[in-house]
Amino acid sequence: MIDVEPLIVSELERLLPLPAGGRADWSDVLRRADFVPARRRWRPVLVTGVVVAALVGVGVAIAAGFGAFNGISTAQRPQTPADKIDPKLLAEINAANKGSGLGLIPGSARLVRRLPNARIYAVATKDGQLCVLAARLLNNNGKSDAAGMGCGSPLTQSEPSTAATFARNQSSPAISWGITLDSVTAVSFTAGGHEVTVPVENNVWAYEGPAPTHGTLTAHFKDGSTKPIG
């Protein structure tokens, strides 16, 4: 008897080979299932002795484990000693936000970018929020001991970047930064009356100069499309 099964398999395979899996997107499944928490606006979190001038952004993903880092490849790796936040700073943040239910997970901290005057960390909270911490900012005392942090719902395709600005005083240039999804290649905004475009490297953009005008941030995607964020 002829074994026809291999023939069927090969013929069907020829008709429709196994497609590539590039479209797979679990976070999209979660959105379609309405398993995303209600959107929480990005908000500054108190850090002792620091003023964060502006924080805007962002969207949502899922609140399980470090799902706060969904779509942020740079943060999706095991923690190394370099990722650990100074325990003293961590204690200050927790003390300043006592009673707010902030719930930072120290083990989730990932150093995503070293800048000349800052270190940018992504940190998850127990309820799935994404926090972006900038530490070792140059303070008014001339020491790099300032810090600023914002927390909000994780990133989504519709709100794919955070944005924060820090200036130690009115006469100093501001440092602005944000964490983005992998699909974002650059952000643009108006700063000092000019349109500025800043590339994204390893999920982080950073800009030193006049602070971005509120409501002008736009994300630029790999496919050439853009998305105003606010």
């Binding site: 008897m1 002829i2 026809v4 099964e5 023939l7 069927i8 398999v9 013929e11 069907l12 020829r14 008709l15 429709l16 080979p17 196994l18 497609p19 590539a20 899996g21 479209r23 797979a24 997107d25 679990w26 999209d28 499944v29 979660l30 379609r32 299932a33 309405d34 398993f35 899922i62 609140a63 399980a64 799935g128």
Partner: protein, 162 residues
């Protein structure tokens, strides 16, 4: 209970491990890959929402196949309603090959449910029990369908040999 339900982790693992297989089956039903992807996404989203209704009487994967197949069939019905017919016989020839093989002719001639049995067996590589669970039919029906298919193909091949 985890925020996403007790089966969320298993569903995510299944999605990540078998997405391409789900996509191929949905594509062959709906007629194009973009709509097939939508059907897979919708099927898994429905599985997540309704995971509490999974009673564990069969494999979780078969239960998910059922939601994805239903999502693909619903998508195809919507296309027909919009007068956008899927590919003939529900199968897209990715190679653009106009040649008709015995297998292809046989698949095209099958009633829809039997065609789904064939696709689940050979595209999704499911066993008979899982196919039965996925389509809500008896294992015997699965067996009979595939047996008939094999016999029909053998006949076709013998005729060609003459």
């Amino acid at each position: 209970m985890p925020a996403n339900g007790p089966l969320a982790g298993e569903l995510e693992d299944l999605y990540r491990g078998r997405y391409r297989y789900f996509l191929r089956l949905a594509t062959v039903i709906v007629g194009d890959e973009a709509s097939g992807h939508d059907a897979v996404q919708d099927g898994f989203a429905q599985a997540l929402r309704e995971q509490q209704s999974f009673r564990g009487e069969g494999p979780l994967e078969a239960w998910v196949w059922r939601t994805v197949v239903n999502a693909a069939l619903a998508s195809r019905r919507r296309r027909v309603a919009r007068r956008e017919p899927p590919e003939a016989a529900g199968i897209a020839n990715a190679n653009g090959d106009a040649g008709e093989s015995a297998v292809r002719t046989w698949v095209a001639a099958l009633p829809e449910r039997q065609r789904l049995v064939v696709y689940l067996r050979y595209y999704a590589d499911l066993d008979y029990r899982s196919i039965a669970d996925a389509l809500g039919i008896e294992v015997g029906t699965v067996s009979a369908t595939l047996s008939s298919a094999h016999q029909a193909l053998r006949r076709s091949m013998k005729e060609v040999e003459r």
